[in-house]
Symmetry: C2
Subunit: 587 residues, 2 copies
């Protein structure tokens, strides 16, 4: 079939169901080719080929509104809605994002990248439609893995009361990113085992009509099911059973490792490039396995992303009941950690910076107000981490460090990180958030204290005068390099590793006043609400000048990190040059 | 019965069940007396008398761990656990808080004030117990109203997988603060109608064993039920049906108005004091009813607190389908608002400052990244609002204003508020958060612009020199008063209403440099991550001195607002005096 002829969903709506099957095969082949070359969300997209084709065959997008949860399974949707070239022409692979994006197409309703949002967003569309007296179908497509998130439940719960057209397609592949965790998954299993006939039915209990599709990779079954709910005048769940990784043996066999992957050999499924570099996932994992060995109170928590923490099936088995995956449920992960700490354990929640946002209230209420010594290990909290607009790692400091009680630490290298992690696990006084540095793992021969209980005490690594550069976390090395450059110009800068992002070393800041006129801060996070502003505010009443470097309060999508750093004048050379300018102006 | 003899739960454990009934009557009478004099959470506590007695009769607190969700229903628990005097002796009424508090008693496991947290916290205790090989019962007591919150669902979902003792008491009084909203409430109704026998059962679908207690205000039924699940070796839900306001006719008849109330006449149920003062709830309500009349696209959303927005049953009926109560589900409220905006509506979410915290991720991802013009109307975001540690109104600015895209407005009076609200509803470019001022409603005869689309443009209300005072929201009047005091000392201060908290009026700040040496900021929020720090950072590279006034990054409980304001040196007199000191030091 000539895929290039498909410019919009109308181009498939005149096909026979038999032709749709051929189309699915051809789409899957093209998809696999692209995935093997470029990587991406492999399993989710292979599993959704037939369902996506059937949705666009039955419904009339964009008049009908299809909202994909997480939207990492939207590749075939993009292929069918005017973006085929981005999947068939290697030169154009980079022209689309990995998620739905209204900037690309009117068929994409929202920019989505976090899980569990589709039911709420779609129920808002349905509510607006009803109030305005319009008529169209609203369809939320939600994976079983996303169901464990509280927002999904809230959205489904309210959506059930709409009393009008609201179609929820539950794409059940019996997997989250990793295996599912949660009581509801037993019910999904029961429904699969009874061909959807079991009386005890989560979706019916939430108020939905219910339709079961056993063969969610059979396009005919799907078309029939979607036709039967099209224009439904009440909320209905269509529970379709699909196979994650469908049609590609390695992905079918290794669902977890093929959830998201880098380029691979299409013949064998083996990754094309194996990195020999250290990374913080394995460093964390190895260290925590040791820590659990030494201390029976230590436990590790993940909210559905064990791979981010370096824990594969073998390490999870090794850790046993002390490796806890609550499913995609960050609120529960944080609150449960508070409960575990109260019960005498030392829980360490490993979490992606961008997903930590989902637990602000729990960080504040359940943990901090209760003084629970929960440890957060924040991955990907850096300009050098993920660059999708929905997964930016710049906002964690402004989020956590302004909540009373939290001790936020920014290690500058592997050795300091592990020292801080050990201290955090060893004390019971504070909740502690450790923000991993970004970029390649940095090793250091400096020696690091084992005790950080004297809060907010910074480390002066170089004593100079006139200008002090405070380089936090990732950007400590930048501060050192800027000082090196300044030294070449005869300026002797003080260099400081602040260690703490949640408070200031007042004694040191006061001391600097004696023989410094300028303090520069550099941090791996948004300036607004960040660390530098606190330094500036502290010095506000004094004669000290302060220049803050950090990231802008903006959402950027698929940016080049090095270029963004330059744009923010955060390279060592730029900072050194700015400092010389400022010292000159003030001298 | 002599209630004073009850010093701990052991004092009731030797009673007969008949004696427990008498005890319940006496506890309820004492409780009513106190509630009528002091106010508080009336309905929830009256409904939970028997269940609380039965819990402490059957279980052995604090060895067994009882976690009350929201914990506003904990009054009888406090009476039975060594704090009887605080409920029987008017002189000691003030000695306990309205929520569980570990500082008061080892029977109180956590400081809790937000809903939907108990299942997660309790499952953490249970998990810690299992890992440590300990043996005790863990009981989460969760009201039906709290079930709509995503954190409750996440906690129940994971808790079901514990495979060990985990007892969830669902206190079903068929009410949230106001009537419940959500599909699950049809299932609860079905269970009540079938005496718990319906096969389609939300809790069984989540993996729980299930026990139904039809008469949740009958202490014998409760004792039998709790005895049957005590030491259970698997997760179980005990669904008890109670009557909100039980035993007090006005509270039984008017469940919503008696959820929480001020002192009332015990004989009639009428409030003792009727305030004639204006308040922002009725101002908002009246304005929105008008706005809905004028504009068919406008809709109002609440997450279970219609009373906070001034909307009683009559006004809800008047607004019809455009007043939307999603239940206690702030994540859904925000994400659904994004969906409604996409669908062509102008949704205004009215929310308590402290509860807004529960939707950070939705504010960022669903709303701002998608550029949806959702309007937030933030109530109780002030040092002069609620003073329970779990309900502080100081953190909203640091939360919302550091998220890209949000326009945060701080009106200084009623007239400016309504102008800003109208502008926010009339434009489609930005998500807008309006933080209501605290304290008594301030009227102003100044005229206010109708258009705020030129972002971050401040208002200079008094032109002076040397010192500029930027007074945001509630504290604009303080800035004016400080300027008045300074005028008496011959200093002529510039006074600025910043209007916007999410960005700076750079042109104005630059202009001030010409003839000002000091800029003072005063805001109704935490300094850390707040507005003042942004001003300080902007001026950091210049000679301008900056002094920021605001609230500390601390959790305070039941403080006196005026004293806290003094402690922060935020009175007009203190600020004026500080300014004179600073001007003197620098002159």
């Amino acid at each position: 079939m000539d895929l290039q002829k498909i410019k919009s969903p109308t181009d498939i709506q005149s096909m026979t169901v038999g032709e749709l099957s051929v189309l699915c095969d051809d789409l899957r082949s093209a998809l696999l080719e692209r995935l093997s070359i470029r990587g991406g969300h492999i399993g989710p997209n292979l599993g959704m080929v037939e369902a996506t084709v059937a949705l666009h065959y039955v419904f009339d997008s964009p008049a009908d509104k299809i909202v994909f949860d997480v939207s990492h399974q939207c590749y075939v949707h993009k292929m069918l809605t005017g973006r085929m070239q981005a999947f068939t022409n290697p030169d154009e692979y980079g022209t689309v994002s990995g998620f739905t994006s209204p900037a690309e197409s009117p068929h994409d309703l929202f920019t989505i990248g976090h899980t569990s949002t589709a039911a709420s967003l779609a129920s808002g569309l349905a509510k607006a439609r009803d109030i305005r007296g319009e008529r169209y179908n609203v369809i939320a497509v939600v994976g079983d893995g996303s169901l464990s998130g509280g927002e999904a439940f809230e959205g489904l719960d309210y959506g059930a009361t709409l009393g009008s057209n609201f179609i929820v397609v539950i794409n059940d592949n019996d997997m989250s990113i990793a295996p599912n965790h949660g009581g509801i998954y037993d019910n999904l299993r029961l429904l699969r085992q009874t061909d959807g006939q079991a009386e005890c039915n989560l979706f019916k209990a939430m108020g939905y009509k219910y339709l079961y599709v056993a063969y969610g990779n059979d396009v005919r079954s799907l078309v029939d099911a979607f036709l039967s709910v099209k224009d439904s005048d009440s909320p209905v769940v269509v529970h379709i059973c699909t196979q994650k990784g469908k049609g590609y043996a390695p992905a079918e066999a290794h669902k977890e490792s093929f959830h998201f992957g880098a380029p691979f050999d299409l013949r064998t499924g083996e990754p094309l490039h194996i990195s020999e570099q250290q990374n913080y996932a394995t460093i964390f994992r190895d260290h925590m396995l040791d820590a659990m060995e030494r201390n029976p109170e230590v436990a590790v928590i993940t909210a559905g992303t064990p791979g981010v923490l370096g824990f594969g099936p073998a390490e999870r088995a090794q850790a046993g009941q002390r490796f806890i995956d609550v499913g995609i449920a960050e609120q529960d992960a944080v609150a449960m950690a508070a409960g575990m700490a109260k019960g005498g354990m030392r829980p360490v929640f490993g979490v992606v910076s961008s997903f930590l946002q989902r637990s602000y209230d729990q960080l504040s209420q359940d943990v901090s107000i209760n003084g629970m010594p929960v440890v957060l290990n924040i991955f990907h909290g850096s300009v050098f981490a993920m660059n999708d607009v929905t997964h930016l790692g710049w906002f964690d400091t402004a989020l956590v460090s302004n909540i009373p009680g939290w001790v936020c630490l920014a290690p500058t290298c592997k050795q300091e990180y592990l020292a801080m992690l050990d201290w955090a696990m060893g004390q019971k006084k504070h909740p502690v958030a450790i923000k991993l540095p970004g970029g390649a793992v940095v090793e250091s021969r400096r020696s690091f204290p084992t005790d950080y209980s004297e809060l907010n005490r910074s480390e002066v690594t170089r004593h100079g005068s006139k200008v002090a550069i405070i380089g936090a976390g990732t950007f400590f090395r930048t501060a050192e390099e800027a000082a090196d450059i300044l030294a070449d110009s005869g300026a002797n800068a003080t260099v400081i590793n602040p260690r703490f992002l949640s408070g200031l070393d007042i004694a040191l800041l006061d001391e600097l006043k004696a023989n410094h006129v300028l303090t520069v801060t550099v941090e791996d996070g948004v300036l607004s609400g960040g660390f530098g502003e606190k330094v500036a505010a502290y010095y506000g009443r004094s004669a000290m000048r302060v220049a803050c470097y950090g990231l802008p309060k903006e959402f950027r999508d698929r940016f080049n990190a090095s270029e963004l750093v330059k744009e923010c004048r955060m390279t060592a050379g730029q900072i050194a040059s700015d400092i010389l300018g400022m010292l000159g102006a003030h001298s």
